[in-house]
Symmetry: C2
Subunit: 445 residues, 2 copies
């Protein structure tokens, strides 16, 4: 699959029309999202025995405590901390329906409101459903277009893989990422919340801040890409061996603990916060919406403190583009470690420490001609409130490019990344956003 | 890698000499393994608060309770049960050192005593070490040949992947499986407990009962095999999508629980057993050995009730061999489901039920000319006592071969299996034993 130059009709809507439509849907939706004290959050309460924040149905998700002990070999100090974490064990479906028209692949994208999104309405997958959604547990409408992803009528599968989500905020969360191609001859009605958009147009939209939501980005990252026979710096066996070594070296032991009893975190009337004001807060919001499955509800959201920076350093080896990948431990990841961007952090959380994370300064100080991609995107707006990060692809300078890779980092070719993302839990969700930008042609290579 | 016809010197020991050597090592070792009551097991005790069986050092492993709830969609009844489970969160290393001599790849295999093995001494990987072993926590000797697998002197990696172990008996256990090739010119001393053995000789040895231990089998399963361009019945995308669907369909929720409080299991002086005498028992043994790292010790072992049957049905599509793979849920697997053999069960556990597991009768009733492989092997002798299963590869009869695959089963080509086993947690440990038999040429194809 290659990003086509086709940006407009007849295959799909033009990028500027999509942006105008998203804006219109946001205005027309009559949406409001406002913080409320925990005591006013209908349906949600703190369990008396554990202090965990749960829904009275026992469904949706819960906010629990987590006790983490992590070490990475003899040389570095072991770390131990407590934190709140979102526990949502069910596997949701994120599915994008594709269809070939006039030789061009187009994607059926949804204008979807999520309370935590900046701008509220962003471009989303065709289907974005928790198990509760698609089995009807919370009494909403049937999920549109679900039949193309499940059951006997489904189309030809282009990608279908379980992928992890944010390891610092979710406890072992995975979602099913599906890209399915419908028959070219099928007449698929475009419901008013949906538009056909080409890959080229998606690439353009990804250059805008907060236009394409996280769920769409992670599915697009899994899109099959024509693999070249290009030589990578490290062959696949070496790459997998290095990664196995990193997974073995880092011991991340995370156990749930009663939220009401974890140290260093303070519960107030309207938030749970770290005592130093770092990392994130847990809040609840009241949501009103005209177009979502249920028109009014309350829910907890996790609100990060500060804008993140998420960046790949880029360089070519023998003309083949490679990104500098970090084998990054995260407490909520099932395997402890996944492949992350070169830089993935919220700089404000490091202000009290002596040293910034590796490569952060190199990324932030890069002159404009080395910045191949830059845009701010929101993370999952159904669970995170204004969780924004500046996503960057930056050409490495001569000094960085020439230096040997530090422990925990490897240059990996884009082809290798596209190969790994077909399998579960190699590539973390932040790296998948940047991979989607490559796949859709949003990065100036 | 292909199984070579070379069975003997100068590249490696002949199969019959290896068998004689294993037998001699068993006789010379002065080994004894005898059951003892829990109260006499030095260093092991039941925690007062939970009833979990633990070591006083806090190390090695523990036997805890597990509460499992499993369902697989609307049609089938949900299941719920409790069981003891072995919890050993550390990642061990199973490594086989290879070296090319005269064009033939040979493997440095160890004669290793494990208390639970039938025959006690079996052929083992070059290195078989828990993290406690190789960091010296329990005060044993340094691990021989470890330098070829770790650190700056290590050889060329042929395979290096984290693999799950028995999902019914271990809680989310993974080990690092490594196959490393030393420089052909290196002079590697053959310590008295070690012998060089060719792939062809390993294939012959795998046709003997209880000669090659589980740890050796799982590493051999990961050996790189020359991949053909053969067409599989289901292409890789279809295969991965089916597997993703199976992982999504099965919900396996397993939480540890106090061993002392789980229902249906009875703790007696010398065993913990299921009240109906099914599944397995937890016992402790006193071990005396002359050649192991520590000469005397006590430890718990899990003793299954009855001989298992583990079998792949085999057929060709367009001349290409395929095995019928089962997407099998197991409570202790991190992802709930992995790819298992067509049949994997202990028939005695089904005696009280109306129906045997699918394909069990087809496998057991097969006439000799359709049995392409048959041998009894022991599972991990360091944790399981006489955990034996009859491993089989059986050519499918015309009726089975012609029928559509039932839900949860797929015909997968051997090439596809060899490709998947390079990644973590696709192929379960029982299927890996049979894959090793294919890789070593032990199956009459």
């Amino acid at each position: 699959m290659r990003a086509s130059a086709a940006l407009t009709a007849p295959e799909g809507a033009a990028p500027e029309d999509v942006l105008a439509w998203l804006s219109r849907r946001a205005d027309q939706g009559g949406f409001s999202v406002r913080p409320v004290p925990f005591a006013e959050a209908d349906g949600w309460y703190f369990r008396a025995d554990t202090g965990d924040l749960v829904h009275r149905s026992g469904g949706f998700f819960s906010v629990e405590g987590l006790h983490v002990r992590a070490d990475s070999g003899e040389e570095e100090a072991a770390a131990e901390w407590h934190q709140p974490i979102i526990n949502q064990p069910e596997i949701g479906v994120l599915g994008i329906l594709a269809q070939r028209r006039g030789g061009v692949l187009r994607f059926l994208m949804q204008a979807k409101m999520e309370p935590g999104n900046r701008n509220l309405v962003q471009l989303s997958p065709t289907v974005q459903a928790t198990r509760s959604n698609y089995t009807g547990v919370h009494g909403g409408r049937a999920v549109r277009y679900l039949e193309y992803f499940m059951g006997p009528r489904r189309g030809r599968v282009l990608a279908d893989v379980l992928q992890s989500e944010h390891g610092s905020w979710f406890l072992r969360k995975v979602n099913r990422n599906m890209l399915v191609e419908a028959d070219p001859a099928a007449d698929i009605p475009e419901h008013e919340d949906f538009r056909w958009v080409t890959l080229g147009a998606l690439g353009r939209l990804l250059r805008h801040d907060n236009a394409v939501n996280m769920d769409a980005r992670t599915v697009l990252a899994c899109a099959p890409v024509e693999e070249g026979a290009d030589r990578a710096l490290h062959d696949d066996t070496e790459l997998l061996s290095w990664f196995t070594g990193e997974r073995t070296r880092h011991r991340v032991r995370a156990r749930t603990a009663p939220l009401g009893a974890i140290p260093d975190w303070v519960r107030e009337e309207d938030r749970i916060r770290h005592e130093a004001g770092r990392y994130f807060e847990v809040v609840t919001v009241a949501v009103e919406a005209g177009t979502r499955e249920v028109a009014r509800w309350h829910q907890p959201l996790l609100r990060p403190c500060g804008l993140g920076v998420t960046a790949f350093l880029l360089r070519r080896f023998g003309g083949v583009p490679h990104v500098l990948v970090h084998a990054r431990p995260e407490a909520g990841l099932m395997d402890g470690v996944e492949l992350a961007p070169t830089v993935q952090c919220t700089p404000a959380n490091y202000a009290h420490l002596d040293a910034p994370p590796p490569f952060l300064d190199a990324v932030l100080a890069a002159p404009p001609e080395r910045v191949r991609y830059a845009a701010v995107h929101s993370e999952e707006g159904g669970r995170f409130l204004h969780a924004e990060s500046r996503y960057l692809v930056v050409e490495a300078d001569a000094a960085t490019a020439a230096a040997p890779e530090p422990a925990g980092y490897r240059w990996v070719s884009l082809d290798q990344m596209h190969g790994l993302v077909r399998h579960t839990r190699y590539v973390n969700v932040q790296a998948r956003t940047l991979l989607a930008c490559f796949a859709c042609g949003a990065v100036d290579l």
